[in-house]
Amino acid sequence: MKQLKSVLFASAALTLAALPAQAQNMPKRIGYVTNYATHEWYQNVIKGMQARAKELGIQFEVQDANLDIAKQVAAAEDFMAKGVDVLIVTPVNEEGVVPLLRQAKSNDTPVVLEGNPVKGMTTMVAICDYDTGYFSGVEAGKYAKEKLGGTAKVMNVGLPLLSATVLRSQGFMDGLKTIVPEAVMVHDLDGGGNPDRALEVSAAALAKNADINIIYGINDSSSLGGLQAWKAAGKSQDALLTVGTGGEGLAFINAMEKEPSYRIEAAMFPEKEGYTAIDAAVKLFNGEEVPEHIVSPTAPMIGEDWKKFYDYDASTRSIKWDAVNALKAPEKCMKTAADLK
């Protein structure tokens, strides 16, 4: 009986989910103003968007703010002048796009945000940054207990610029402490999110504190910059753990294959985030209710785990949609940007 009920319920849910999808009107064109299109993360977000838009027969265009908030506003203005049906925006900065949302509202253009929340937004598709850091922290704790003699002295190659990246670092330390309570963050660095800056600041920090045994990076460039500084200092990777975040491109796959200390990667599946953002845009276009925060899933990948989610042929990677779509995202984040203030 119970089984029957659940089957009935499931099929009902399926029909419910499928019906509106068929009844939905499709927007003709969607415009996406990205933050930084030359970055691997956003390239893969765009790939996911393109794939989904093609499936649904939507014309999809991208503009790049190239980290310049003034250019972001200009690009969004261009899109609205062109008459796109829905706008997707990855804010260069959380406060800076408030006027843009105001303009879109007076222009009756619905807006989906990707990545960062903004005051007065309708909906945002984003991962839970704190949770992402937290679960990779837990895994790092287990590893430290098993392989590093239970000590955890962390060099955080961080990026104070964005609340998202601050949350990742906080989550990592909190997760780590659930397993290794005496874990400490020895250095809290600003690696600028790019590899050469990360390398430079890490070199100085490693010179000061030789007892560091965990490198945490808020993205792959940061963790790799930290690891390269370690190698350049002539140290062995035997008693080191490197933890990256993002899984944004090819670099982490290369590192997990070749660097003995690079054991944990908190994958954030940018392709999935793009896919979800298009779905959210369609819903907004149809005036459907959407949650304020649509969570896109993340997962810590240990060792060879990445092969579950990606195919890699030495020059490109392709996502395994079935595996990623099967991941369950939490309803709510443990901590958000609002908790930082």
């Binding site: 265009e61 991208v62 003034a70 200009a74 002048a81 062109k82 408030v98 104070p160 610029l161």
Partner: protein, 333 residues
């Protein structure tokens, strides 16, 4: 650089020759602008719509306003590359004061006061202490940018006051068509272009930049003229910063990053020489508009950033090279 033959010196015949030459140069720039617009109106969707055109003028208001100051400093024979960082810095007093007092006037007053102080420091160190202006303003750029990062802890400061008058600077349009920011920019351009061409102070700036020795002999206070030019530049960058703060509704620590490169490129493209004494504000304005329409059109074509960068780079070099060739021929002939 052959200064003497090119300056708007008091010599009557020469200045009218100079004026004629300038006219020709501006004509070429104007044709170039028309060409850019014509090209994109055929290729880029929606390019010629009123909405898109007025958008571009609104977007150009930043570089146009700051470009006036940049051009004036260039003409005086110096450079100011601190303007991008200043754009971000003055948003702090502006937004903080508005959040505290709910007054746009006080906020703008605070921003202008801050800009004035920076202009005085830049001007003093260059004109009176005698340090190379590229060094002074490069140092100032680091100090201001780092200062903003330090003060804000790399967090943008939101405009909590949300005064209607301030929002109008971003969203407001005269008759619902022309953005207020564009009107401010073109108003300032008219005022300063008049000053440069028809007031004694404008002539002094050309003379000082063209040949400081001659200017000194003519009885001009070279130091005071240069000092004033830096103040003008900082104040105009402040105005640009206020418009930008309105457009992004906050004080942004990364605002105006690389803005100085854009403005310098547009100014030189507009025929204002880095060597001093040569160029006009009209030329600068045409340079700004060419680059703005170009980037708007390239966006309209849906070209990715990398192509936009490559094409803009090529056009800047080609335009300046063409301009130089023309100028040399003009001198030779």
């Amino acid at each position: 650089m052959s200064h003497t033959s090119m300056t708007a010196a008091p010599d009557k015949a020469e200045s009218s020759f100079f004026a004629r030459l300038l006219k020709r140069q501006e004509m070429a720039l104007f044709l170039c602008l028309v060409l850019v617009i014509a090209f994109f109106s055929f290729t880029a969707e929606n390019f010629l719509s009123v909405r898109n055109m007025t958008n571009v003028f609104g977007q150009a208001s930043l570089a146009l306003t700051a470009g006036i100051g940049c051009a004036i400093v260039f003409i005086s024979g110096e450079v100011d590359i601190s303007i991008g960082a200043l754009l971000a810095t003055i948003a702090l007093p502006l937004i903080l004061i508005m959040n505290g007092t709910e007054s746009l006037v006080l906020g703008i007053g605070g921003a202008l006061l801050f800009g004035l102080i920076i202009g005085i420091v830049n001007g003093y160190l260059t004109a009176y202490a005698g340090i190379n202006s590229l060094i002074v303003t490069l140092g100032m750029m680091f100090i201001l940018r780092g200062g903003v990062y330090l003060y804000t802890g790399q967090r943008a400061i939101p405009d909590d006051a949300a005064l209607d008058s301030f929002i109008a600077l971003s969203d407001g349009r005269l008759f619902g068509v022309i953005p207020y920011s564009a009107i401010i920019a073109f108003g300032l351009l008219l005022i300063f272009a008049y000053m440069m061409q028809h007031r004694p102070f404008g002539r002094q700036i050309y003379a000082v930049g063209g040949n400081p020795e001659v200017a000194r002999l003519a009885g001009y206070d070279v130091r005071r003229v240069k000092f004033t030019c830096f103040i003008i530049s900082s104040l105009l960058a402040t105005v640009a910063g206020i418009i930008l703060a309105a457009r992004v509704g906050s004080a942004q620590h990364t605002a105006g990053l690389n803005f100085e490169f854009q403005v310098v490129a547009a100014t030189v493209l507009g025929g204002v020489s880095l060597a001093g004494g040569i160029g006009s504000l009209t030329g600068m304005a045409l340079g700004v508009l060419i680059l703005q329409f170009l980037s708007n059109g390239l966006r309209g074509l849906g070209l990715p950033t990398e192509w936009q960068l490559v094409i803009t780079g090529i056009i800047i070099i080609a335009a300046v090279a063409f301009d130089e060739a023309k100028r040399r021929r003009a001198i030779g002939g």
